[in-house]
């Protein structure tokens, strides 16, 4: 049993940057390039660890602690999330609230770190990040409520480990709505393309990249790593909602799960290569649509009595 928990943690700690690598490779493929190697994010993190750190004289300890706090919070949220057939190390009734709030904590400290530098550009990014974060949080909660209602459970591990298997047969089309809404939230929360461009670094319309403009060296490495883990957690959540099918063979299930994740990363890469970034003032509409999708699905489920 302990071996399994250890495996869960190992996957949680080691796997995430690979997703970023796959996305990068896909984008390079669509652009007709060879692209960086799959393990590039690992190399980046390793490289940053050996770099000089530069701190602004304006900053306080908050600036230095924020990357660590946010990464720790995101990893702690990861202990609640089932991966493939691995039960999470900790599970309890109502852990989904903690899950969302840990992400909120991560965002809170990063925003504070951005304000700590006193730079107007970072203030701008901080304001946007907090704004969109607060709008995506409501949809996140609504989606989790729907999933809880369908699987009659308040614990992430029970929801994602089989709680939803019968729901696809009952209310399949509605669950698609929830999935779409989740996907939009994923794009917003992880600052992927239609909302934000993770490639650019100096543009006034961007959100997440500008917040960590002043971070360097090991701090930036932590930020990058935390971002990868966050994407990984959201992706595995979405994958667990979509594919509830299990063959009950441990190895096959696990392999299948990783395959799904990789397909998912490729999908994100395709979305990024084929779409242009939205204008900033359109992003709230995207968030509203995600909210409406979710509320639409919820209404249908309520009327159907599928719960």
């Amino acid at each position: 049993m302990h071996i399994l928990l250890l495996l869960h943690l190992t996957i949680l700690f080691v796997f995430p940057p690979l997703l970023l690598g796959i996305i990068g490779k896909t984008k390079a493929f669509f652009a007709g390039r060879i692209g960086p190697p799959l393990l590039q994010p690992y190399f980046d993190i390793f490289k940053l660890m050996h770099k000089e750190s530069v701190y602004s004289v304006t900053t306080n300890w908050i600036f230095m602690a924020a990357p660590m706090v946010s990464t720790a919070a995101i990893l702690a949220a990861g202990t609640l999330m089932p991966l493939a057939d691995f039960k999470p190390p900790i599970q309890f009734w109502g852990d989904m609230v903690l899950f969302v709030y840990l992400f909120a904590l991560a965002r809170f400290v990063i925003v504070l770190a951005a304000l700590d530098t006193g730079s107007s550009l970072e203030g701008m990014g901080a304001s946007r990040e907090a704004t969109f974060g607060c709008l995506s949080e409501i949809t996140m909660f609504l989606n989790l409520t729907i999933l809880a209602l369908l699987s009659r459970s308040l614990s992430l591990s029970e929801i994602f480990l089989g709680g939803l298997s019968s729901s696809w047969l009952q209310v399949g089309p509605v669950l698609i709505l929830v999935v779409v809404s989740f996907f939009l939230i994923l794009l917003v929360e992880n600052s992927r393309v239609p909302i934000d461009d993770p490639e650019t670094h100096l543009e006034l319309t961007m959100i997440h990249e500008v917040i960590v403009l002043d971070h360097s060296g090991i701090d930036l490495a932590y930020v990058l790593y935390g971002k990868a883990v966050k994407l990984f957690l959201f992706a595995s959540m979405l994958v667990s909602v979509i594919i509830t099918f299990r063959v009950h063979d441990f190895l096959i299930d696990t392999a299948f799960f990783f395959f799904e994740l990789i397909v998912f990363a490729v999908l994100i890469g395709i979305v990024e290569s084929t779409m242009a970034r939205l204008r900033l003032n359109k992003v709230p509409y995207l968030l509203f649509s995600a909210f409406i999708f979710s509320i639409f699905g919820f209404t249908v489920i309520l009327v159907r009595g599928g719960h």
Partner: protein, 675 residues
């Protein structure tokens, strides 16, 4: 009970002593401090003993004390049950902290007013609030409630030379009196139904549902004005900034909470309400929560921002109460228990962290002599203690894990999610609506406090006027951290915030005790376990996070030692001359979200944006206007004013005429009695 009586008598005697010695500032302050500590100590002891002792048995009447026939229509009948004890607990903690802070705050006060009188009034306020909390007789309750309103009015208007302070005081006085009228009617109906003004008999009486609905509406308006539900909140954002800091803390932490206490007391008395009452409460709670935090986002004045946040938190508390009532109406006791417990716990937590925030905001204002956040910035280096304490307060109020706000918000979420499981479609719609509202409130609160903390303490100073040296930053000489008398109470409150977040079991347990007093039912042991155990698991997640954090910190320390570290200016992204005034201000930080919610509130940006290439002068001002004030109350007051002008002829100014009125009234009474 004896302990509480000791505490009360200490307060009475010492307030008399303070008045006696009020010529000498030192003696009165000294008496104030020690009597406060002693009285609050005894009070806390009594409250805790009740909360702990009830663990074994359920007889819900606590230890009582009654003196017959001292008040007309009633008796001096007080008693502590678990509900009173829970509120007493938070009240004594906060009044102790605020009192010590007030002592430190007013010690170097050199104005005209007599601080002794202020201290005596403070003691008086503690006495009457205690009476409100322990009164078991409606008449005693109302009398104490009235005196409390007056005493707090005098405390609010401490700086009464300023016009705005007097206005705020009047507004407070008038609006709470409207509330008292409703309460009077409510208690009279209850008394008539029960045949006694004692709460015991009222609790034993069965109220018909229609009457219960009427009572609920009266209580909702009457206590809602005190609690600051959104259409009735107009006094709140004016009174809080006007009062001295420690009084604002007490006002926001306790006086506002008495509205919640009143509602809970009415629920304990009437018990069965129609379903729509709970739904109404839930909807009003959602409006108060979201509205309060949205208005808070638009404020630049720190105390006003905190005042609007009180409305938001009252909204969260009331969400818990509302889902509790709905659960009770559906006979789903699980939902009801968790909802009430969440409401109670959030009441306690809000009192603690809001007290902390007000006190630290007071320290900031004390040092910078301004409340305008856009003129602050970079105070973290100058006021490290205040900064850290404010940070703890902000993290708690946003309900982030590790701090006590999370525990109570988790309970409210839990109640709402249980509501989604256990209720029918109608109930599910409202609980999920409330979940969305609560999530929105949480997100907006985080936005608001990153703004407040970031703009006040981080970055560099934005001020262009006043306390600036030549080099454009605050001179360190006139900004000093307060001494232990100011810091101590804040540290106490911050410690409670952290303790409540890391070791939640005790407070949740106390909240369940209070819930038993509200519902009059024994909470099954299984349910308590089902609530407390997940919270302990949550602590495990957090400690895991802590382990990761320390590993990361160790790695970082190691690397920082081995690789070079450089200090420079903030990177200006290639711009040549960055000035401190180019930082993001409070208004600009909140602008995107306010633009999104523009249609929900009146949000205005004034000023002219210059189109020339080298503008000499340009100005921009954004403000958020309170809709209920201008759309609801101004027309109402206008109508009332017009109507009362018509009646003005009655007031002739001659004493003789007034005597005639009195005489006529007596004659009418006589005739009426004869018929």
């Amino acid at each position: 009970m004896a302990l509480l009586l000791i505490s009360l008598s200490i307060l009475i005697i010492s307030s008399l002593l303070i008045l006696l010695f009020c010529r000498s500032k030192e003696i009165s302050a000294c008496v104030f401090l020690w009597s406060l500590v002693a009285a609050c100590g005894f009070g806390l002891w009594s409250a805790l003993s009740v909360l702990c002792q009830k663990a074994m048995s359920l007889p819900l009447t606590g230890v009582d004390f009654r003196v017959h026939g001292t008040i007309p229509l009633g008796e001096f009948y007080i008693g502590i049950d678990a509900l009173s004890a829970f509120f007493l607990l938070l009240f004594f903690i906060l009044s102790l902290a605020a009192g010590i802070y007030g002592y430190g705050y007013l010690r170097d006060y050199t104005g005209q007013r007599n601080t002794g009188v202020h201290f005596a009034l403070y003691h008086l306020l503690i006495i009457v609030i205690t009476l409100v909390l322990v009164a078991k007789n409606a008449v005693l309750f109302l009398v104490a409630w009235e005196i409390m309103t007056f005493v707090s009015y005098f405390l609010i208007t401490f700086y009464n030379e300023s016009e705005s302070v007097r206005k705020a005081g009047y507004l407070y006085l008038i609006s709470t009196h409207v509330g008292v009228f409703c309460l009077l009617v409510m208690f009279l109906i209850m008394g008539a139904q029960a045949g006694s003004m004692n709460f015991d008999q009222m609790t034993a009486t069965q109220f018909p549902l229609a009457l219960a609905a009427l009572l609920f509406m009266l209580a909702f308006v009457g206590f809602g004005i005190k609690a600051g539900f959104i259409p009735f909140h107009i006094w709140l954002p004016h009174a809080h900034p006007a009062a001295p800091t420690h009084i604002s803390a007490l006002l926001s932490g306790v006086v506002v909470k008495l509205g919640i206490y009143g509602l809970m007391r009415v629920m304990a008395i009437v018990k069965d309400f129609p379903l729509w009452c709970g739904v109404l409460l839930l909807i009003m709670a959602a409006i108060s929560g979201v509205g309060g935090v949205l208005y808070a986002l638009g404020q630049h004045e720190i105390k006003k921002l905190l005042a609007y946040h009180s409305i938001e938190n009252i909204g969260i508390i009331t969400l818990g109460l509302g889902i509790g009532m709905i659960g009770h109406a559906y006979h789903q006791e699980t939902v009801a228990f968790i909802g009430y417990a969440g409401a109670l716990l959030h009441t306690f937590n809000h009192a603690v962290f809001k007290g902390l925030l007000f006190l630290s905001a007071g320290s900031v204002i004390h040092c910078t002599h301004t409340g305008d956040m856009d003129h602050m910035g970079g105070l973290f280096k100058l006021l490290p203690w205040t900064g850290h304490l404010f940070l703890i307060g902000s993290l708690s109020i946003c309900g982030l894990p590790l701090f006590n706000g999370f525990i109570s918000e988790w309970l409210v979420y839990r109640a709402l999610l249980e509501g989604v499981f256990h209720l029918d479609v109608f109930g599910i719609i409202f609980s999920s609506l409330a979940i969305v509202a609560l999530a929105l409130v949480g997100g907006l609160a985080a936005l608001c406090f990153t703004k407040a903390f970031g703009v006040i303490f981080l970055g560099s100073n934005k001020s262009s006027e006043g306390h600036q040296g030549k080099e454009g930053r605050l001179s360190n000489i006139d900004i000093k951290e307060g001494d232990l008398m100011l810091r101590g109470p804040m540290i106490l409150l911050a410690a409670i915030c952290l303790w409540g977040g890391l070791f939640p079991a005790n407070m949740v347990y106390f909240a369940f005790q209070g819930t038993q007093a509200i519902t009059g039912l024994q909470i099954p042991f299984v349910l308590k376990e089902a609530v407390i155990n997940p919270l302990l698991s949550a602590t495990r997640v957090l400690s895991f996070g802590g382990v990761i954090f320390s590993v990361l910190a160790l790695v970082r320390d190691f690397l920082v030692l081995h690789y070079p570290v450089r200090l420079t200016e903030t990177w200006s992204c290639g711009y040549v001359k960055l000035s401190h005034r180019m930082q993001y201000t409070a208004s600009s930080f909140a602008r995107p979200i306010l633009k999104i919610f523009r249609s929900a509130l009146v949000f205005r940006v004034e000023g002219k944006i210059s189109k020339e290439y080298f503008p000499a002068w340009t100005s921009l001002k954004s403000s958020v206007k309170d809709v209920s004030e201008s759309l609801l109350f101004r027309p109402l007051f206008y109508v009332i004013k017009k109507f009362s002008r018509k009646l003005k002829w009655i007031q002739s100014g001659h004493t003789q005429t007034y005597i005639l009125y009195v005489f006529l009234f007596l004659v009418i009474l006589l005739v009426w009695k004869l018929i």
